[in-house]
Symmetry: C2
Subunit: 298 residues, 2 copies
């Protein structure tokens, strides 16, 4: 193997994101050894069977031993317990990172437990699908996607560079951001859309049975896109909303005001108000396409 970026990495959690990291690291020889730990033996067996782990153990502290890079790929609610368990086993000079969708809480939960000489560099690859588990991963998941790093003000520059190089090798574009600002942006681009999708699918679920079956049958009219988003991992998303509570509530409040205004426009048949909004939103779509966040016809 020519020049691995890290001699040994440890992945804590081997779901969609963890297994995608393992797959691409294996495919491109990015690391020397992949140590994997997970909550269940079943996941570890699956990781070995898929050939994406060099060693597996249920013992989190043992998993991180000698690792140069530790990536926490678990739901946000597990971070506190994980860092307390692994802290004694961390190698001096190691980088501790993660893939969580909320960043201020990560610093709050992890930073106090990071031993001297170990570098905390939180990260968030903005990529995913609605599928979960070790089998859902694929090595191309991060290609042409953003990976946002939120290093603390006093972070070691070399450590930030090394982690950036890893994500660049995954095909991602790196962005450095303040954790609180990251959480506000994600509240709007990701957390609120998921909350809304979960809500509307829930609303449909509560309809009388005949109507609900018809909603499923005729879902191609727009609803099915929401069902895809609302099929995402429940534990992960519960933790996102609890950990990014303030920013989500702020954006949700704005959304509520706007939908109430629209509700009123429909009730009073104010067609111009509707038309004006529906025209304005096309601009944002053009922006998304120009920003290459989506191909024109995908």
């Amino acid at each position: 193997m020519a020049n691995p970026l890290f001699d040994r990495i440890a992945l804590i959690g081997i779901g969609l994101i963890g297994s995608s990291i393992a797959r691409l690291a294996k495919r491109d020889g990015l690391v020397g050894h992949i140590s994997v730990t997970a909550r269940t033996q079943e996941s570890l067996d699956k990781a070995m069977e898929l050939g994406i782990a060099d060693s597996v153990t249920l013992d989190q502290e043992a998993a991180v031993k000698d690792a140069d890079l530790v990536i926490i790929c678990s739901p946000l609610g597990a971070y506190s317990s994980i860092i307390e368990t692994i802290a004694p086993g961390l190698k001096p000079g190691a980088i501790v990172s993660d893939v969580g969708s909320v960043k201020e809480a990560v610093v709050r939960d992890l930073a106090p437990h990071i031993p001297d000489g170990v570098h905390l560099i939180p990260a968030h690859p903005v990529a995913g699908t609605e599928h979960s588990g070790p089998e859902a991963g694929f090595p191309e998941l991060f290609e042409d996607r953003w990976c946002i790093l939120t290093p603390p003000a006093d972070a070691d520059e070399e450590a930030t560079k090394a982690l950036s190089a890893f994500w660049e090798a995954a095909g991602s574009n790196i962005e450095i951001m303040d954790p609180a600002h990251h959480d506000l942006v994600m509240a709007m681009t990701s957390h609120l859309p998921h909350l809304i999708a979960y809500t509307i699918v829930g609303t449909a679920t509560d309809l009388e049975k005949t109507l609900r079956n018809e909603v499923i049958k005729f879902s191609a009219g727009g609803f099915r896109d929401f069902t895809r988003i609302a099929a995402s991992d429940p534990t992960m998303w519960r933790d996102v909303f609890l950990k990014n509570k303030d920013a989500v509530l702020e954006m949700l409040q704005r959304f509520n005001e706007d939908i109430t205004a629209l509700q009123r426009a429909i009730r009073w048949e104010e067609g111009d108000t509707l038309f004006e909004l529906f025209s304005r939103t096309r601009e944002v779509r053009r922006g998304v396409i120009e920003a290459k966040q989506e191909k024109m016809y995908d």
Copy 2:
């Protein structure tokens, strides 16, 4: 041409749906002659240039002359004016149909003007994209999609059969429904999702400029799916909300209650409430996939 289903059809409007109908009718030789009328000469020129019309005219009454099947492919708000204009030109025995997303209003607006001996069979192909205009159409648009017919109680059986045969030839599955029930189902599967998508994209548009640009930049986290839906034709959607006001307000009220409950659960950090909803919504997704309204990985 072997056995066209209709000797002559007239399409009133040649946007995404109208031009898709014209394309498939041409491709498969479903009709003898395609007469097209539209609001602008530009659209008519485009239709000729694309080779999807046999004759074009800005004169709606002239367009429907001798047509065995007239399909109104215009925004719902234009129906009243259209039917008043074309009624004198309709051929005895002709079928008048449409492709609108609301059906009770169609009967209300069209039925009083339909001459004796002409058959009104409203239809709604549940298919579409966020693109508009004559160039956005493609002949496969209706394949494996539902086409809902809402014939009046006293509708001519042969006329209903003939229209069904046309949509079956387009690759669609036919469903017969009561107009009011259709509107309720669509309020949930299509109209509410569009309203919500327009709203959240509007909310994002109103953010301070820096934040808005970042929302666009990092839209891959869920938001971009909403921008696609919210890029749909503004005139069409304004009319949908005005014409299906009662059903949309009913479903929107249910949604509002549900999102308020979720907002409260986040504020009070009731993780179990969130987890329970997020798990429940996966069932609906499975239903959508089983109903083949979406392939597993598209």
